[in-house]
Symmetry: D2
Subunit: 359 residues, 4 copies
């Protein structure tokens, strides 16, 4: 099950950094959804390396091809197979990786688990794996938008100590996309970009926080107990490369308030049950309550740096390793479409589950 | 799938606060494990209401009965069904709940989803549901201990602003259990207990952080991509009632460091690949690296307070509701066995998956 | 997953012949279905030993108790836990089974797999396990009837060489239940009963065929490829104790015709697409076509006989074993409710899946 | 879950008859298995149309490409993605199919379910879908052979009324492959080939029985209750296009014997527990007992015939349809590798499950 996500809207990703490519099979998509590559490519372009000066410069067009599951521009209800070829294949650039474990990467743990690894470009651990997620997520976002009126978006909320001011209830996609760091607070964005550029030049990297939002989710999606909406979101986010934490609504700060202060009081408003505050983050008891869902994901600084660092080689001897060539000074701008994709995948899955049991 | 957790070591919980009881079916347990109720009851006692002056006073013995899956004191490999009767059933104490939605509880969302709810004691949303998890977790802990030499424990790390100093590498269970708040830092524990007592008297509640630890996990457990060990832990923890956040290793604080500062450098030590620091929290690329796993879970202050609060009733009219009778000023002492149980369930599942694919 | 069946309407059974009882947890049941024990008990009574002179005389009332998932006579959408206590516990009657492997039973294979078994009454291999299935199936049948207008029934079609004439399109439950062998052809039923009685007296057993039918299934249920309706039915039936074969529609006899002879021609009839014949058995390409579904299940003669037979003991020495006490000369009358239960479970599951993806 | 098969060794197939191709993703394959396209292609060639004069003449090379999951000729433990391009695309040859439902095909049921279908060459219902299964099955067979010493094979046992004499215990692959109908009884094979040729010329089709065998399966594979080995095999076989029935061991004929006659008596032989007969078909209580597994699958005559037949069109009007161009007079020779593939997939899955729980 390792490479499959979702219960009813299920995606299975495959592929390594170097090899025939990367891809995804989407199973359970409702039929008769209008769908072509043009619905998928824009999100892949937002995820793509080389899109701006502050991300890794790997040169790939990441052009997606739909191999199955559509007919005359509509989904069939059968599996949608999508494929992106690998282009910028330079195994020689990574040759030292064949024999040395990169610190804070998965080289060593893959050997511990499988006894073998494709060391070229990180193999399956490469962020290229997320291409399949983003492609599938683009379909999920379309279903949410067209069939349920739900909007999913995310943005960079914080880079190291630079925090943006953003209202998750009203922020617009065009403001997010108005700069290369994908932070809708223009002032903070400027500072963030400068910091990331500095890191790039220093051969170092920096982390931060992406905030994810889903607006107009109807009350009643989610499950009690194990498959709570926030639990599935947490899993989705912690499955992204470099993520280290997740909190929802009031999150870690909830502990500073007492129960009386923290509770979201119910009031009728426009004929609907609403809450006066939204510390719950749009979810109560695992089920959406009709308020906006919002949460944060912490991404550590990317492990690949251009400095010599102590490590161990595959003969289990101490050695050093210095990153070379391309590095990604900050994963956050490219993490934005990943967070959106995973959010949409979780929500569509629960939308279908709700129809099945209670529809 | 809503009420089932795990892929190979699978638990299915059932039951409402008021009714025939609560229970769990454990499927996939290895055969020939010594097991009787005496292995389960101690963890249930740690989870039980009424165990001390700082938790909810509901009076239940929570006595577990194993109905199947064992024979002459050993597991058979067949499903283990465990059952705890409900005893302290006082539906009248909750009668107002029949017609009013408690703020920041799941009363409203259950109605939005199912169109019906058992309002007595919160029904399925009651923390009594976690009895099944803790019972199953006791088995998982035993398997980890006896078959893999892995130790799982957790403790209260913070209550509101009172933070304990604890070394996750060396902390002992007896220090955790030496006080009623389950915080191994005696000084902090005293302050925490005083704060919680104050809250109880004030009819209010307070949240905090539980830290979870797994020691001696061999390198190689976990999966890349979706079922990363940290992703499954995140889901497990966010599925616990009142949890609002999860982070692992350096977690949210990872964003304050650069990549160069943050990386865990590898060194050989005692013939083993070790890391000089453990910001990864024992997991790299979703797979354990042999270091201790440690993570934090934020629990909000419990929603039930003894104060009158605005809310809405089931006729969708504004009203107020005042908590009565029993309330739990702080969920943390009882959350400790829950965190341990969910940690153990995740780890056993991955231990079995590792055997299946790579064993 | 071994003890769980279904994707969206999921049942998990547990329990051994001797021990705390047997039971089932049903997860995914739609909310607001009227449900009490009175909906379940009649099918359990049809499955029960001792119900007539031609079935095994074990004395159990098999009284079901619903422990969770309902409130004021309606389902909540939460797991429904059902439990039947074991009553007629006579381990001494089976003591020889502790050390000898019964021929054509699962005693040896359980040891080969688990290294341990509960030898009392067959443990988990006992037909008592099917109590949970029949109880869950009663709920599934009710959902099909009340929410989808689908009728599920089955009957004994053949005992050894005695074949009944039955029209699956029109046969009525009251005719099936009009005799103890559950064969709606009264003449054949008489012969069957006489044969079974003869077998009982001879301490021997006899097998036969149960035919299963689902009428008024709408076109469009089922899945292409792996989860074809007939594939799920086949699995369901072959999971029943003592079953050895399954075929659907024209089944094994289909091979006697050419394609031209075998094809079901489409014609419009009453505004609906209908087929002139129904060799497809109501399913085409894995999906229901609106015609009645009908299939056959072969049950071998029960392995427990009252004769001395060669076998091997748990010390792996040749020996002999003679059945004693109670034996079931023919499983077929009791298999009828089992076949209905499994049919209903498959159909409800696909009904919910259809709603999820295409609803 | 519709397009995924297996629990631990999981395959997901995708693709339509006309479009970008067909393929499969295999998840859960053990690492360090030697694997290249040369291991896969031979079974695809046995499945391929146009391989002999008695099968459908569609012209496709069905050349498989491994896109991921291997490195330097060995499996990585990551998903193995395999792809076969569609070549012989002649949508015009099928244009009538756009508006008419072919009798006993899935055209109508797809519309009933999805409201849309790819009518070109049958779309997803095309037997081309089985390419993915056969490719994955080739890997499964290799694992069984190399890691467990298990041999899987199958052959044509019967075509219409022509029945072959074959000893499942000793039959050799070279005898199966010695003729184009894949029947190891040379005399019967001749008659079968003549009959199929006659059918081809007559524009008609004929069905029959494929027998599947697994030899040297160790005792202890399989699960009790739902995931019995025979239940999973039954599902696997009934998921193949045109299959109508399955029975195992003594199968439907078991009903002609009494229990005393039918039981397989245990005897020690060469230090092993063996049975004197094998009516159980190598499985008892859902678990392998160390004897050879053998079973039969009935395949109906293929629905596409070159005769005019009554049907209905997509405007729901009565009409007629005459098959044109290519037709497959008998699916059996090509079903042989499909049966082997599905058998191997079931067995590998259970082998891994056995390791997980009881290893």
């Amino acid at each position: 099950m390792a490479n499959t996500f979702g219960q009813l809207f299920r995606i299975t990703t495959w592929g390594e950094s170097h090899g025939g490519g990367v891809g995804v099979v989407v199973d359970g998509c409702p039929p008769k959804l209008k769908l072509t590559e043009a619905d998928i490519q824009p999100d892949l372009d937002r995820r793509r390396p080389g899109q701006s000066k502050i991300v890794t410069p790997r040169k790939e067009s990441d052009t997606v091809q739909i191999l199955s599951g559509t007919f005359e521009g509509q989904t069939l209800g059968t599996p949608i197979s999508m494929w992106v070829k690998n282009e910028d294949i330079r195994p020689e650039a990574y040759s030292e990786m064949a024999t040395k474990f990169r610190p804070s990467h998965a080289d060593y743990t893959y050997i511990a688990k499988y006894g073998i690894r494709n060391w070229q470009g990180g193999g399956r651990t490469s962020a290229r794996e997320t291409i399949g997620r983003v492609a599938a997520g683009a379909i999920a976002k379309k279903i949410l938008r067209e069939r349920f009126g739900v909007e999913v978006l995310s943005y960079v909320k914080q880079v190291q100590r630079i925090e943006a001011e953003v209202d998750y209830q009203t922020v617009k996609v065009k403001d997010i996309e108005s700069n290369i760091v994908r932070c809708p607070d223009a002032k903070a964005a400027d500072k963030m970009i400068r910091l990331i550029e500095k890191m790039r030049k220093a051969g170092d990297s920096v982390g931060g926080i992406v905030e994810g939002v889903a607006r107009n989710v109807p009350a009643g999606w989610g499950e009690p107990v194990f498959d709570r909406l926030e639990a599935d979101l947490a899993k989705a986010m912690l499955s992204l490369p470099a993520s280290k934490g997740f909190d929802i609504g009031s999150g870690f700060d909830s502990i500073l308030l007492t129960g009386t202060q923290h509770n979201d009081l119910f009031r009728m408003k426009g004929g609907k049950v609403r809450t006066l505050t939204n510390r719950s983050g749009g979810i109560q008891g695992g089920i959406s309550n009709g308020e906006s869902i919002y949460f944060r994901v912490a991404f550590k600084p990317v492990a690949t740096v251009m400095h010599e660092q102590d490590t161990v080689d595959s003969q289990y001897r101490n050695t050093t390793l210095k990153g070379r060539g391309r590095h990604d000074p900050c994963v956050l701008p490219r993490a934005v479409p990943m967070v959106e994709a995973m959010t949409a995948l979780v929500l569509v899955d629960h939308a279908l589950r709700q129809k099945a049991q209670c529809g």
